[in-house]
C-alpha cells in the first residue's frame, strides 16, 4: 500500500473534515424535520465509522466485532437513562435483574460511562483477540459480535432481550451531536498522527518489519482496539438517544456491513474517507428511499420499485470497490485550502 496516512500535525487537515461536517449539519440538518432525523443518525454512524477507521484503517485488520461495542454502548446508555417506571413496567414481566432497574444518570454521564464500559470490554477481549492475525482475527472478532448478540438477544435478566427498550431520552439538538462528532474527530486525528497510529500503519504495510524494529504489534493493536472500542461505544450510546430506544437487532450483521462499507467506500485510510463514506451512503439511501415512496427528489419524480433501495446501495458499494479498491478518497485527507495573502 502506498498510502501511509497523515503523520504530521496540520491544522488544515484537522479543520477540513470538521468544517464540512458543521456545514452539512447546518444546511442539511436544519432543512426539515425528516432531514434533521437523518442528519442525527448519520452523525452517530459517522462516529461509529471513525471508530472503525482508527482500528481497521490503521491496522489493516478487519474487525467485525465493533458492532458488539456499539451494542454495549447503546445498552449501557439506554439502561442508565430510561425512566425507572419504563424499565420496571415494560420489562418487569421479563424478570429484569433488580439492581438494573433503579440507576438513573444524566445523558452525558451515561454516554461517558458507555464509552468507558465498551473500552473495558475491548480491553478484556482485545487481550485475546489482538494475538491473532489475518483471517483468524476477522473470524475471532466476528465471534465476539456473535456472542454479544446471542447473549443480549436471549437474556432477559440483563436487558430487553429481543424486544425494544422504549422511552430512552432523546438528544434533540443537532449541535450537541455535532459537538460529540467533532470531539471524536479530534481524538481520532490525534491518535492517527501519534506514534501509535504511525506504528500501526507500519505493521499494516509490513507485518514482518515491525518485530524487527522492536515494535510489539500486539501492544499497539491492543491500545488502538481499546480506543476504537470506546468511540464505538459512544456511537452506540449516541444512537440510542437519537432513536429513543435500544434494540439488540440494530447492531448485528446489517449494521456491521453498513458501517464497514461506509468506511471502505469512503476510503479506510483517513478521517475524510470516513466522512465521505458515511454521508455518501446515507445520501444515496435517502434519495432512493424518496424514490421508492414516489416523492420528488430535487423536483424530479422518479419511481423505483419498493425494496430496490437496498439492492442499489449494496450494488453501489460493490461498484465502488471494483472501480477503486482504495475507496472514493483513496487515503487522502481533505485539506482546507491555505489562504494566500499577497503582500
Amino acid at each position: 500500500m502506498k498510502h501511509s496516512g497523515v503523520t504530521k500535525f496540520s491544522i488544515q487537515n484537522l479543520l477540513g473534515p470538521i468544517i464540512i461536517l458543521i456545514l452539512l449539519t447546518h444546511f442539511v440538518g436544519g432543512a426539515s424535520t425528516s432531514l434533521q432525523l437523518i442528519t442525527q443518525s448519520a452523525l452517530c454512524l459517522f462516529v461509529m465509522v471513525l471508530a472503525l477507521q482508527v482500528f481497521v484503517g490503521n491496522s489493516g485488520v478487519l474487525s467485525f466485532g465493533h458492532g458488539a461495542f456499539a451494542l454495549i454502548g447503546s445498552y449501557v446508555s439506554a439502561m442508565l437513562t430510561a425512566p425507572v417506571n419504563i424499565k420496571d413496567n415494560a420489562l418487569a414481566m421479563n424478570q429484569l435483574w433488580e439492581p438494573l432497574i433503579s440507576p438513573q444518570v444524566n445523558i452525558y454521564v451515561a454516554l461517558v460511562i458507555s464509552a468507558a464500559v465498551s473500552a473495558l470490554v475491548a480491553a478484556i477481549t482485545g487481550v485475546f483477540l489482538m494475538r491473532l492475525n489475518g483471517l483468524a482475527a476477522g473470524i475471532a472478532t466476528f465471534a465476539l459480535l456473535g456472542v454479544a448478540y446471542n447473549v443480549f438477544f436471549n437474556n432477559k435478566k440483563i436487558g430487553p432481550g429481543s424486544q425494544a427498550l422504549p422511552g430512552v431520552p432523546l438528544i434533540e439538538n443537532n449541535w450537541i451531536l455535532l459537538l460529540l462528532a467533532v470531539i471524536s474527530i479530534i481524538i481520532v486525528y490525534f491518535i492517527n498522527i501519534s506514534k501509535i497510529g504511525r506504528t500501526l500503519r507500519a505493521t499494516r504495510e509490513d507485518a514482518m518489519a515491525a518485530p524487527a524494529l522492536g515494535i510489539s504489534i500486539f501492544k499497539v493493536r491492543l491500545i488502538a482496539f481499546i480506543l476504537s472500542g470506546a468511540i464505538a461505544g459512544l456511537a452506540g450510546g449516541m444512537y440510542s438517544h437519537v432513536a429513543g430506544t435500544f434494540q439488540v437487532q440494530d447492531y448485528y450483521l446489517e449494521f456491521t456491513f453498513i458501517t464497514l462499507s461506509m468506511l471502505i467506500v469512503g476510503g479506510s485510510a483517513s478521517i475524510w474517507g470516513a466522512l465521505v463514506g458515511t454521508f455518501t451512503i446515507t445520501a444515496i439511501g435517502q434519495v432512493l428511499l424518496m424514490m421508492e415512496q414516489d416523492l420528488p427528489v430535487f423536483g424530479i419524480q422518479v419511481q423505483i420499485p419498493l425494496g430496490s433501495r437496498a439492492v442499489i446501495i449494496a450494488l453501489t458499494f460493490v461498484v465502488v470497490l471494483l472501480w477503486r479498491s482504495g475507496g472514493i478518497t483513496n487515503g487522502k485527507e481533505f485539506r482546507i485550502p491555505k489562504l494566500k495573502r499577497k503582500s
Binding site: L132, N133, G134, L135, F257, I264, G307, S308, V318, L322
Partner: protein
Amino acid sequence: MVQSILDAISLGGLYSLAALGLGLVFGVMRLVNFAHAELITIAAYTLVLTAQFPLALSLIFTVLVTVFVALLMEFSVYRRLRGVNPAVMLIASFGLSIVLQRVYELMFGALPRSAAVAPFLRGDFKVAGLSITISSVITIVLTITILLAMGYLVEKTSLGLQLRAASADFKTARLLGVRSNRLISAAFGLSGVLAACVALILVIQNPQISPYYGLNITILSLVGIVIGGIASLRGAALGGFIVGVVLSSLNTLLGNGRVYAYSWLFILVLVILLVRPGGLLSKGSELERV
C-alpha cells in the same frame, strides 16, 4: 440418544459440505466468499419452485441454476477484484451477498416459500425399537457419498491436482501451465454444485425458504474452515464437521440453555484460534494475511 448422535453426525457432514464449497474458492483466490450463502439460497428456491417436477429433473435444474449464479458472481465481480487486498474482497463478497438477498426478496418476496420436496424422505422408522428419522439417515448417506466423490475429484483427477497446486502456490502453478481463469471458474462451479447439494439436504429438513436461508449455515461453516485450517480442503471439511457436531451436541446437552449454544460455540472457536491460529490442521507457519 442414537437419534442425537445421528443428528450430530448429519449436521457435521452438512456443514463440512458447505465448508468445502467455501474452501475450494478460498484456495484458488484467497477469497472468503460470503455470498456462498446466496448460492445455497438460490438452490433452495429452485428446489422448492420446481417441486412439482420429477425429483431428478428438479435436481438437475437446481444444479444448473446454482452453477450459473456461481459463475456469474465470479465473472461479474470477483474476476475484477483478483489480486486486491483479501480484506477488500471479503467486504465485496459481503456486499454481493446483500445484493443477492435483496434481489431474491424482490423476485420471491420476503415471506418464506415452501413446497414438499421429496416428501417420502420425511417421517421416521424403527430399528430395534428405536425411532430414527429418515432424513438424518439420508443426510448421512448423501453427505458421505458427496464427500467421497469430492475426495476422489481432489485427490485423483488432474483438475483436483491443479486445484491443490493452485491453493498452495497459484503463481508457480500458472508458470507450469495451469490456466487461471478456467481453474477459478471450475472452483466456483464446483462450489455451486456443493451449494446445491447442501440446499437439497437442508430443504428436506426445512422447506421454508426465505431470502436469508443460506446465511446461518454459511457463517458457521466459515467459522469451521478457519478453525479447521483454511490452508487445506481437508482442514475445511474437518472444521465444518466439528462445528456441526459441536452445535448439534450443544443443542442436546444444554437443554433450556440451548439459546446460548452459539455463544458457547463461538467461545470454543476463540479458544481453538488462540491455541492454533492457523487452524487445527495447520503446520504452524501458514498464517494468511487477510
